[in-house]
Structures are given as C-alpha cells and as structure tokens.
Symmetry: C2
Subunit: 161 residues, 2 copies
Amino acid sequence: MSVRHSILTLLYSRPRHGYDIKISFDEMVHHQWNLNVGQIYTTLDRLVRDGLVEPLNAEHGEKKEYQITQQGREELYQWLIGPVERSLLKDEFYFKLLCAKQIQFHQEEEMIRRQKEMILRNMLQMRALRTQLDPVEDHAMILLVEGAILHLEADLKWLEL
Amino acid sequence: MSVRHSILTLLYSRPRHGYDIKISFDEMVHHQWNLNVGQIYTTLDRLVRDGLVEPLNAEHGEKKEYQITQQGREELYQWLIGPVERSLLKDEFYFKLLCAKQIQFHQEEEMIRRQKEMILRNMLQMRALRTQLDPVEDHAMILLVEGAILHLEADLKWLEL
DNA sequence: ACAGCCATGTAACTTGTTACATGATTTT
DNA sequence: AAAATCATGTAACAAGTTACATGGCTGT
C-alpha cells in the first residue's frame, strides 16, 4: 500500500538495516504481502533523499543502518492520522461495473460471480490466518482480521442483490 | 483507478480524440473524479505503444482520433472480468491500524474518529450525487450509488466497535 | 478585444515493482 | 562442499500525475 510508510513505521522504534526491515515487515504483515527485498533498498534511498530517514555509521560498508528523522516521524504521524478516501470510484469493483455499463457489457452476472469467488477466497485466507494467530501476542491483529471478515461478509451480501 | 482501462472503455463504442475522451470521462464518472487532461494524452501514447489503441487519419495534425484494437478489446474484457483483491492489507485503513499498533501509537481513537468523519462526508457526497441522477437515464448508476451508500453504512458500523 | 472553451501535447517527477548481480556467513 | 540464509544494491520500466506551453475558434 505504502512501502514508504511501512518503512517509517519499522524505523520508528529503532534503527535497522535493509534486510532487517524486510524480515520485520514480513512478520508485521504475517506474510500476507510478498514484498521484493530490492524495493526496500530503493525506497530507503528515496526516503533519505527526502530527509525522512538518515543513514547511520556507514563506516566499512556493511549492514548500513538507517534511522528515522524528526521529519520522518511527522510524516508518519500525518499519514496515520489522515483518513482514507472511500468515495464510489475508489472501489475498483464499482468502477469496473461503471465501465461495464458504459460499453453495455452484458456480463455483469459473471463479473459478480467471480467477485464473489474472490471474496470467498479472501475470507478463507483470513480465517486461516486467524487460526494461526496467538490470542495473547496478536490480540489487536485478531480484532483486525475479524473486522476484515465482517467487511467481506457485508461485501458478499451486497453482491447478492 | 485505471486510466488506461477508462480510455479503452470510452473508445469501445467509437473512435474519439483526446479532448472528447476527457469530456466523456467526466460525464461517465459524473464529475466525481478530477482527471488532468494531460494524462489522457500521455496514456493514449502508451496505449498506442502497447498496441491496444491505434491512431486514425492523422492527416493535417488536428483532432487526431484513436480507435481501440482487437487486442485492446481483449485487454478490456480481461480487466472487466477479473475480480478485485479484497484481502486485509489491500484496505489502507486496516493497514494504517496495523502500523499504528506496531509503533504503539496511542491514537487509534482519533484515527477512527477522523475516518468516521470521512465516511460521513463521502456518504453526503453520494446522497447529493443520487439526487442529481436521472431515474430513467442513470438507472444503473443509481443502483451503484445506493450500493456504495450501503457499503459506507457497513463501514461506519464496524468503526463503532 | 477579450474571455472562454476546444484541442494537443511535453517535460518532469513520483511510487511501485522486478529481475538480476554480488558476495559473506552459516548450516547441513 | 553444497545449500540456505544474510545482506546490499542497481538498472530499468510501468503507471499516475501535474504544471506548463501552445494555438484555434467562438461568442460578447
């Protein structure tokens, strides 16, 4: 979603080097998002360029650590606190239906069928994830996953109309 | 969302020139999405490059028209019929909550308050749009807008937990 | 004459993304 | 010794996006 902000998030508590960020990222998202390691490094460079992150003790050239700057903390704060747009066209499926209507694509039913399938697949995925979570350690994550499942159920209900 | 596919959609029924696409696009989305005209032209060039669109009678250099190719129709078809991912991390607000938890950002309540505000704003926007729609001409759009409103209501309900 | 719309385009930049190269260290 | 993991990076491209330049045509 926003690799930049993920990195700022992980650097918030302590400095890390690229590979460390990669590992921590995978843990944070419980391996639900496959991120190419290379992207960590390209994004770190860009964050340094923008003054949101700065390199630490780059002496010999090994395990270059990075730390977040004050500006980086502010950027992260603003991002977190900023709400997410939820207008009609921000939902790609609605947008597709709009386009389908425009060209008189008479296969809305098939679109809906496939979308339902995807939602079911995503629900299974979420349920599988939930069973893997530790009720103590991942308490907040469990709430999120359950919220996501409720969301998917609402989605499904709407498609059944 | 996908400017490329919007353009393919508009070229599906007949060839058009850039400005025509811009006007039709604004109509199609009922002015809910502000698209810079320049982007139409850059995207058209890229579509031509990829063989999804081809220029028509570019004689004197005025009103260059473009038409969709067979490959373009197929691309559009595949895009329309393809389902949209709905996993946990694809929702930016969930992702923000995850990051907030990671850094022990103790302002989840404020995040939720602001997100609710945004949803209410988007709901008002949708309701305003609905009143502007023609019950005959825009029948399908009305369904979509009402669906979006239901969606927003479900969103709101979840945030109230 | 001037405003406003019709119409086209480009240069520049952003983020996301990947395939690939390279080598060190650790485990089997 | 081979395989796996640790670790860093680069070149290249896609798509989104915008500010800006340019000129014709139309109505007042």
